[in-house]
């Protein structure tokens, strides 16, 4: 399909960012590109980045919305650091993102929006298209809006609709640049706007116009080919982090034979968990949009007592509000999952940006000795398995589990190999209906889980609550020895989980000069950096923790086998503090708090700095 005069260069991987005004449809454009790329067969990872404001003024810096994707013929772990291609639909988008484009990278610009007003709004004194600001880049300037107008002339569309379709022009152009077919997107447009034929037509013409523009005008000398990646055989789809959480919990509910109850209050970036779940009423999911976070978690505690698989999702400020009630769940020894999709703090902080700064809160943020299990997800698709693991632990150990995700993986996406439903494990739980010898706080089972007698079960009537309880019978007790015993017992309930989770196996050699320990959404960047450094035969290994409380039981042994330990985090050193306290190991910290995912190159630089010392 490619014009004969254009060369095709094969590349391993490419990073593209679509950027424009919030009204320019960049999220949709990006999602289309990534769906298409996935279906083509590349490995990929995406990172959408919204403005915090609802519709900040059109053309303003605050209103810029972007969507980044890295795709590759190899296994990749992040949406990429620097950009091969930037699509900038207006001056503000150029201003915000140009700094991330690689030297000699491609910058595709919709000239139509480089009006005086927009230049002003973006803070450009003079038009960058007329200066040599772009001289180090391959710049493709197109008046997309005008060309869409021409392509749709006969339809007599409203100028607004024409302007809004420019994103499809850009998408078509990029499809052409990477030798992709447009069929999927054509399908999508037809379905999505089925009820509005005018919009379908406008979008399709724009898409094709963009594609053909590249094809016919010898816009650039080379197009690129990124061969398919080698995937494990199977059926794949794209998966976003919050969606994967919802899927994971629905799976856990089915596999445990329980009904799923979600109680929660909307908050960015966790709200989508509620949105997804509320769409699956036909799977029996009960969603309760509560009046606040407290009612969210407390209703879930009520549902857990009543026998459902109960979860709540929020972000850091919401966890703060829930912390008293989480203590109640600890005391009541009920299965419960609290999801924290972390965002930039403290306080309201940077609500739409990513961060990993709620680990302290998860582990230590309650009154009294109130140990909870804490686990974390590391990629969008991993959210699915982390959700299942959280539910499994909560049910098996009769204990509240805090699941940490973050804004980056919540909204990011990657291909997900759809598991065989039957291969997913069934779940144990401790429901009981046998009054014989029943005691509500009987801890004689292997992992100290108490029996789960739910209201409605004849003969097991009992009372629970937040006051200290007598081990076994479960009645209120002020007995000094019993209190000490129960505090230790609740701590032990967490600690012995370490016996039951798999040992950690470092990526890389079992001993060496440097061990990198990370957790959560930084997984991809760290792993990529370590893969790079392995090419240089350096003795650097990587442990990425899913389990944060308790730690895997062999973590201390692993640490001992390395000269140095580096802990990169998007906070001021929270995991580092935990490791220091537990293993008395000096840690090298790497803390970057830009509200953005960690960059592979930053990790690489840090590794080199340490090894060079």
């Amino acid at each position: 399909m490619t014009n004969s005069k254009t060369n095709v260069t094969e590349l391993t991987e490419v990073t593209i960012r679509f950027a424009g005004d919030s009204g320019d449809g960049m999220q949709l454009t990006g999602t289309q590109f990534s769906d298409n790329t996935a279906i083509f067969g590349n490995d990929l990872a995406t990172f959408p980045d919204y403005p915090s404001e609802i519709r900040a003024p059109a053309g303003s810096l605050a209103g810029v919305s972007s969507f980044q994707i890295q795709f590759s013929k190899l296994d990749i772990h992040t949406p990429g650091d620097d950009l091969n291609v930037l699509v900038a639909m207006n001056p503000a988008a150029l201003k915000v993102h140009l700094g991330d484009v690689k030297d000699n990278g491609t910058v595709i610009i919709n000239e139509a929006n480089f009006t005086k007003k927009n230049l002003n709004l973006a803070g450009y004194d003079c038009n960058p298209l007329e200066t040599d600001l772009l001289k180090n880049f391959q710049t493709v300037k197109v008046d997309m809006t005008k060309l869409v107008g021409t392509a749709t002339e006969d339809l007599k569309l409203a100028p607004k609709l024409i302007a809004r379709s420019a994103n499809m022009f850009a998408l078509g152009l990029v499809y052409w640049l990477y030798g992709r077919k447009i069929d999927n997107t054509v399908d999508f447009i037809q379905k999505k706007f089925a009820k509005k034929p005018e919009i379908v037509e406008a979008n399709l013409r724009a898409l094709k116009a963009g594609y053909n523009y590249g094809n016919t005008l010898e816009l650039v000398k080379t197009t690129y080919h990124i061969p398919k990646a080698k995937f494990e055989p199977g059926c794949y789809r794209n998966m976003m982090g919050n969606q994967a959480l919802a899927y994971g919990f629905m799976t856990a509910a089915e596999k445990s034979g329980l009904e799923l109850f979600y109680g929660g209050y909307p908050i960015t970036p966790a709200s989508d968990v509620l949105h997804y779940l509320s769409g699956y009423k036909n799977m029996g999911v009960k969603t309760f949009q509560a009046e606040d976070e407290i009612a969210g978690v407390v209703s879930a505690i009520g549902a857990a007592y009543a026998g459902d698989l109960a979860i709540t999702a929020t972000s850091g400020p919401g966890v703060a509000l829930k912390s008293e009630a989480i203590g109640l769940a600890v005391m009541a020894e009920l299965p419960l999952v609290i999801i924290n999709v972390q965002r930039g703090g403290p306080s309201t902080g940077l609500p739409t940006k990513t961060e990993q700064s709620d680990l302290y809160q998860a582990v230590w943020g309650r009154n009294g000795e109130a140990p909870c299990v804490v686990i974390s997800a590391s990629t969008p698709a991993d959210c699915f398995y982390t959700a299942i693991e959280a539910a499994r632990i909560a049910l098996k150990f009769m204990i509240p589990v805090i699941l940490l995700s973050d804004g980056y993986i919540a909204n990011g996406s990657e291909p997900w190999r759809i598991p065989d439903v039957d291969s997913l494990p069934e779940f144990e739980n401790h429901k009981t209906s046998d009054p014989d010898g029943y005691e509500p706080f009987d801890h004689s089972s292997e992992f100290l889980a108490r029996p789960w007698a739910t209201p409605g079960t004849p003969g097991l009537e009992h009372r629970i609550g937040g006051l200290e309880k007598w081990d076994g019978a479960g009645h209120v007790s002020y007995d000094p020895e019993n209190h000490d015993h129960m505090l230790r017992l609740r701590q032990k309930k967490v600690d012995i989980i370490a016996e039951e989770i798999p040992d950690e196996v470092p990526y890389g050699e079992a001993s060496g000069n440097l061990l990198i320990i990370s957790w959560g959404g930084t997984m991809g960047s760290v792993r990529s950096a370590v893969e790079h450094i392995h090419l240089e035969n350096k003795k650097v290994s990587h442990v990425h923790l899913r389990h944060l409380n308790p730690f895997p039981k062999n973590l201390g042994d692993i640490i001992k086998r390395f000269d140095k330990v580096l802990v990169p985090e998007l906070n001021l050193g929270q995991l580092a503090t935990m490791l220091r306290a537990k293993y008395l190991v000096p840690t090298i910290q790497m803390n970057i708090n830009h509200g953005k995912p960690l960059k592979t190159s930053d990790v690489l630089n840090k590794i080199n700095e340490i090894l060079g010392e």
């Binding site: 067969g41 059926c235 899927y247 036909n282 009960k286 549902a303 007592y305």
Partner: protein
């Protein structure tokens, strides 16, 4: 979705007495209410294991410990939210919330009003002693202005809430008032609350002997109660006083007391209609008016679908429209591609 009757054996009060020693101050009004609930429950036709009593924190909130049913003594103010979760999870349960004026109206005010508006089927018994009992005697949101307590040595400065008015304002569908000392009437109220499908709210006047003794003595003392209590009965004229010698009539938007011996007779008296919300609101305003009697009984009842029933009908509807979802389907619900 109705509470199933699985237990044909006749139960008695004793079946609802737990093995825990009751720990309220001797003479506390809570004892009377406990007895009333224990007497009513066996008669409701609900299997014992289907009762769930949820409470917050306070003297009153120790209630579940004394009932041999499922019980959850939760945290301060949160009982309605916990009960909501339990009821949505299992609509078969007969869910009761026992709470205090502090628990329900101070820290828990938000959950209370939201539960009322959602009309989740549960029975909320708010023991209003107009004081914080458990924390040893601070004024509460229902304490009268100027109340001298540990935290208000010169008198409190907060205007009190009027519980039925607040509950009506929040959209409650069953609002009643009972008095700890009037066993027969209170038991009637409990039964009616149970019978109402939706959130029932009973403001239960309760005497705290230690920190607020006698707040309701006007309404309970033999010598004064006839004059000060107006018993609301659906379809009956609003009479009160010794030998029902007085009545209320509505003039414009205001109630007036009329004496039924001369110029006025029973036909001039306004007839209570427990389904008239406007009337209920006007009646609720009598709570703190000195020269008018205090209404007890049912202010308002309205039948409306409950939240949890709607949740479950949406689920049924979704299943019947789309079929019961499977994981298989779920996983493949968007574009997929296959790698061989």
């Amino acid at each position: 979705m109705t509470e199933t009757i699985t237990q044909p054996i006749k139960m008695t009060r004793k079946d609802f007495v737990s093995d825990q020693e009751v720990r309220w101050c001797p003479g506390c009004g809570d004892y009377a209410i406990l007895a009333q609930v224990q007497k009513v429950m066996p008669e409701l036709g609900v299997a014992k294991e289907n009762f769930l009593i949820v409470s917050g924190i306070g003297c009153s909130s120790r209630f579940p410990y004394y009932m041999d049913t499922y019980g959850f003594h939760s945290i301060h103010g949160r009982a309605p939210a916990l009960a909501s979760g339990a009821k949505i999870a299992n609509p078969e349960l007969s869910v009761w919330v026992v709470t205090g004026d502090g628990d329900a109206m101070s820290i828990g005010g938000n959950h209370l009003i939201h539960t009322l508006r959602r009309n989740i089927d549960m029975n909320i018994l708010m023991f209003n002693n107009r004081i914080y009992g458990l924390t040893k005697g601070q004024y509460s949101p229902t304490s009268e202005l100027g109340k001298v307590t540990k935290s208000s040595p010169m008198g409190s400065l907060d205007y009190p809430f009027n519980p039925p008015a607040l509950a009506l304002g929040a959209g409650g569908t069953f609002i009643a008032r009972a008095i700890d000392r009037d066993q027969k009437h209170s038991m009637e109220m409990i039964k009616r609350a149970h019978g109402h499908k939706g959130t029932s709210f009973i403001e239960y006047y309760q005497n705290c002997l230690i920190f607020n003794d006698g707040t309701f003595s006007d309404l309970t003392d033999k010598t004064t109660k006839d004059e000060s209590v107006l018993k609301l009965e659906h379809g009956k004229p609003m009479v009160f006083g010794v030998k029902n010698s007085k009545g209320l009539r509505l003039v414009g938007s205001q109630f007036e007391v009329i004496e039924l011996n001369g110029a006025f007779n029973i036909d001039d008296v306004f007839v209570h209609n427990e389904n008239d919300k406007n009337l209920a609101m006007i009646l609720s305003e009598l709570t703190y008016v000195d020269h008018l009697p205090t209404p007890v009984g049912i202010f308002y009842v309205k039948d409306e679908p409950t939240y949890e029933d709607m949740v479950h009908s949406q689920i049924q509807e979704a299943v019947s429209n789309k079929g019961r979802g499977s994981l298989e389907q779920l996983f493949k619900s968007s574009n997929t591609w296959t790698v061989e």
